[in-house]
């Protein structure tokens, strides 16, 4: 009987296939959106984790803020930090700015970072060519380039390499190193690939507002960033005068980004849920139409001896088959959406294991929920009225 009911229900849906297809769209889109959203969320999370694995979760970024904007660290305080603060193993102060750079007629805008020789180690920057800055470069007009800006300044006849001369403001700098392409680091205020590195004294020459407002530090072992922050405040705070010290740890940033990803995922989920509800309303609409159109058939079934629950089961089966089909297509669409998202973002494909069962389950539930009312309505029809209708 159940088999025959399912066969009949499938036949009824096929007979009105255009309408069934329309009813499906909502469910398919809804389930697809929910599943794609879960995949995108998983990929974003994986990507964040990967970024931090490269940068290291033991990194701290220090920034001096004054009421006027950026503040100034005392270089001596920074340099004495590893000795004075037991939880910090290394620290590298830096100042940030930017401006035009030219080489062989190529003009570009680049970010500037004025740093000491330890910056590359503390920020884990791999050198592709030449070397990074050293204490001996303090007053020499030497520059180290990020991979992207190096490429942009190159011409076919004069690629940027160690020894190339580039012009920054009124100065001609000699390139002493190029950094390997690195992933965008969420901790640093600028993208390393598009940045020129100078010594601090040179940075003061070419930057409009040179302020030693930032430093990157590494925790010793698995020291607690909270404790390190307190100790840094004690050590650096007095030298800052009216400025305040802000310390950002990688772990804080991860937590922040995770909550952002969650928010985006939630938003997508809301959109998917709305689509699913609309899909459910679509199913209900189709089923109600079907019930109205098939009143006489229902009447005949009741006359022949169908019980109310037999009629209900027939229409519920139709809703169930519709939502099963919708869920299946929605899962396919969701996975395609996930792959599309990975392709667009350039991130590796990563699927959420929960997505398929969750998306399919929810769309099934929606279909059956919205199919229930029409089915009950069909089962409640008065056989005499139903038989008389056209």
């Amino acid at each position: 009987m159940i088999w025959q009911t399912l066969v009949e229900a499938a036949g009824n849906l096929l007979a009105a296939w255009q309408r069934s297809l329309l009813a499906l769209i909502g469910i398919v889109v809804g389930a697809g959106a929910v599943i794609a959203m879960l995949h995108a969320g998983t990929m974003a999370r994986q990507e964040t984790i990967r970024q931090f694995r490269q940068m290291g979760t033991d990194t701290l970024i220090l920034r001096a803020d004054s009421p006027q904007g950026l503040g100034n660290f005392r270089l001596g305080d920074i340099e004495s930090t590893p000795a004075a603060v037991p939880t910090v193993s290394e620290i590298a102060p830096f100042m940030i700015g930017g401006g035009p750079v030219s080489h062989e007629g190529q003009n570009r805008n680049a970010g500037f970072i004025g740093a000491t020789g330890s910056f590359a180690d503390v920020a884990r920057l791999p050198i592709a060519q030449g070397r990074f800055l050293s204490p001996h470069d303090r007053f020499e007009l030497h520059a180290v380039l990020g991979s992207e800006i190096a490429e942009q300044l190159s011409t076919p006849f004069a690629p940027i390499r160690v020894g190339s001369q580039i012009r920054v403001s009124r100065y001609i700098f000699t390139v002493i190193g190029v950094i390997e392409p690195v992933m965008m680091n969420p901790m640093l205020p600028m993208d390393v690939n598009g940045t020129l590195f100078f010594s601090l004294s040179n940075a003061r020459r070419v930057m409009a507002a040179p302020q030693l407002a930032m430093a990157v530090a590494r925790l010793r072992g698995d020291a607690d960033p909270e404790i390190a922050t307190q100790q840094l405040q004690q050590h650096l705070g007095p030298g800052l005068r009216d400025s305040t010290l802000n310390v950002l740890s990688a772990r804080q940033l991860i937590a922040g980004m995770n909550s952002q990803v969650r928010l985006v995922a939630l938003l997508l989920g809301a959109v998917g849920s709305i689509a699913l509800v609309l899909g459910g309303v679509g199913v209900m609409n189709i089923m109600l139409m079907s019930v109205t159109e098939r009143r006489r058939e229902i009447g005949i079934r009741l006359a022949i001896g169908a019980r109310r629950r037999d009629v209900r089961r027939l229409f519920l089966s139709e809703a169930l088959i519709l939502s099963l089909l919708g869920a299946a297509l929605g899962v396919a669409l969701g996975y395609a959406g996930g792959v599309g998202f990975a392709w667009m973002s350039g991130w590796p494909v990563h699927f959420s294991p929960l997505a398929a069962p969750l998306g399919a389950g929810v769309s099934l539930a929606v279909g059956v929920f919205f199919g229930f009312y029409p089915a009950v309505m069909a089962a409640r029809l008065d056989p005499i009225e139903a038989l008389r209708s056209e």
Binding site: M1, N12, A15, L302, I304, R308, P383, L387
Partner: protein, 227 residues
């Protein structure tokens, strides 16, 4: 077989109440072939709905095979219709998306008969009504007369106490009408099933041994007069 006692049916339309059937008494025995005639508004349809357990009388009693059939709830009444009554309609009313044998098997399926047995009985019944060659045809591939044969097979397959036929020849041409009437007579004779045919056609009524007439909600047995 069927025993109706002082069946009255009143309808309330707004503030007024209209009595459609006035205390009808009727006994029908197994193996009878009965016709019911009556003009429009005579209460024919209401009477048939009550006999067919689709409607309940306002008062009176109704027994089939000795069982009080008015006491049952809606679902139980469905089951009684399934077991005791076979319907044949003027417009055939076959399920358009089920083939011939599945249409015939439908009452058995609702009864819970296993599909294999239901199919066997449905096919045997289709053979009996002369459609052995059309077991898997869809309704839209059958002629009017063939559809009505399928409908008759469907009405008979559950071995009901009574087959209720509402204008069974109303949509058929005279030649096919005679064939269908012949089939009713044959089934009535061979299976001994009680057949009640509601009709406008005096020719159809004339072929029934017992003829009933409804006028303004009163039932008269004309066969006694004619005999």
């Amino acid at each position: 077989m069927l025993e109706l006692r002082s069946i009255t049916r009143r309808f309330r339309i707004g503030p007024t109440e209209r009595t459609v059937l006035h205390g009808i008494d009727l006994d029908l025995a197994a193996g009878e072939l009965v016709s019911l005639m009556g003009g429009s508004g005579s209460g024919k349809t209401t009477f048939m709905n009550i006999v067919g357990l689709l409607d309940r009388p306002s008062s009176g009693s109704y027994r089939i095979r000795g069982e009080n059939v008015l006491a049952a709830e809606a679902d139980a009444q469905s089951l009684m219709r399934n077991k005791m009554i076979g319907f044949v309609f003027q417009q055939f009313f076959l399920m358009p998306r089920l083939n011939a044998w599945r249409n015939v098997a439908l009452p058995l399926m609702y009864r819970g008969t296993p599909e294999g047995e239901a199919r066997r009985r449905a096919e045997a019944m289709l053979e009996r009504v002369g459609l052995g060659q059309h077991l898997t045809h869809m309704p839209n591939m059958l002629s009017g007369g063939q559809k009505q044969r399928v409908a008759i097979a469907r009405a008979l397959v559950g071995e009901p106490a009574i087959v209720l036929a509402d204008e069974p020849t109303g949509a058929l041409d005279p030649l096919v009408s005679r064939e269908i009437m012949g089939l009713f007579e044959e089934m009535n004779r061979e299976l001994g099933v009680l057949v009640l045919i509601i009709t406008h056609d005096p020719g159809v009524a004339a072929r029934c041994r017992r003829r009933l007439m409804l006028t303004q909600g009163h039932l008269a047995d004309q066969s006694l007069v004619a005999a």
